[in-house]
Amino acid sequence: MWIYEKKLQYPVKVTECNPRLAKYLIEQYGGADGELAAALRYLNQRYTIPDKVIGLLTDIGTEEFAHLEMIATMIYKLTKDATPEQIKAAGIEDHYVNHDNALFYTNASGVPFTASYIQAKGDPIADLYEDIAAEEKARATYQWIIDMSDDVQLNDSLRFLREREIVHSQRFREAVDMLIEERDRKKIF
């Protein structure tokens, strides 16, 4: 089972009420390479992978939920007290007329989350390469969001999340090494 902890993994601070940034961030909430997709992808792969990498998938999958909560916190803070004028100026009135301030799992263009974002091939190598690619794509997405944002405090939290993608990618690469039994061995070719 899972135990919730009443704390964020990393402090989230937002400088100003800016719903436009929320529009970009929703990509990492309900987008193809977002935190929800990541959490569900890794936790779901655990059932069909060798025992020695199940712990890693469990722990990274769990950390992704902590990241999902950080993204939710950013969106919550950026839109909490926004006026209708600010909503319109940010170009998120189409979200607003359907959901008001509610968060909804979509990407930045409003496309709803779908299970087809999550691959599960049942082949350990195919699945781990999928995971490595997912981490690199999430890293890139954070870069492009940071490029679009002028909120220095928000960028600090986004930099943390981008850095986590780097470490996760490293661990998945090591998981592949463990499965091909190449760790600590000289190359034979």
Binding site: R159, E163, E174
Partner: protein, 76 residues
């Protein structure tokens, strides 16, 4: 030999008919996980406080990315 960097560059083709002013240099990130292989034991760590704000416990993985409006962008 050039100093090692995790930022690599390519130079897109510029056509005389490109409508926008050309960006002649495109930079992309290639962080440490692409080079390190299986992490060796006892690599240098940040202090716990530094680690949290760096987003990693190990110095080798630290690769900050700054936005257009931020200081630090020049070095990217």
């Amino acid at each position: 030999m050039k100093d090692f960097t995790t930022r690599k560059v390519y130079y897109p083709y510029v056509s005389p008919f490109d409508p926008c002013p050309p960006i002649t240099e495109k930079v992309y990130s290639t962080p440490a996980q692409l080079y390190l292989g299986f992490q060796p034991e006892n690599l240098q760590q940040f202090t716990p406080q530094e680690a949290l704000y760096a987003g990693t416990l190990w110095k080798v993985f630290y690769d900050p990315y700054y936005g257009w409006y931020e200081k630090g962008r020049e070095d990217q």
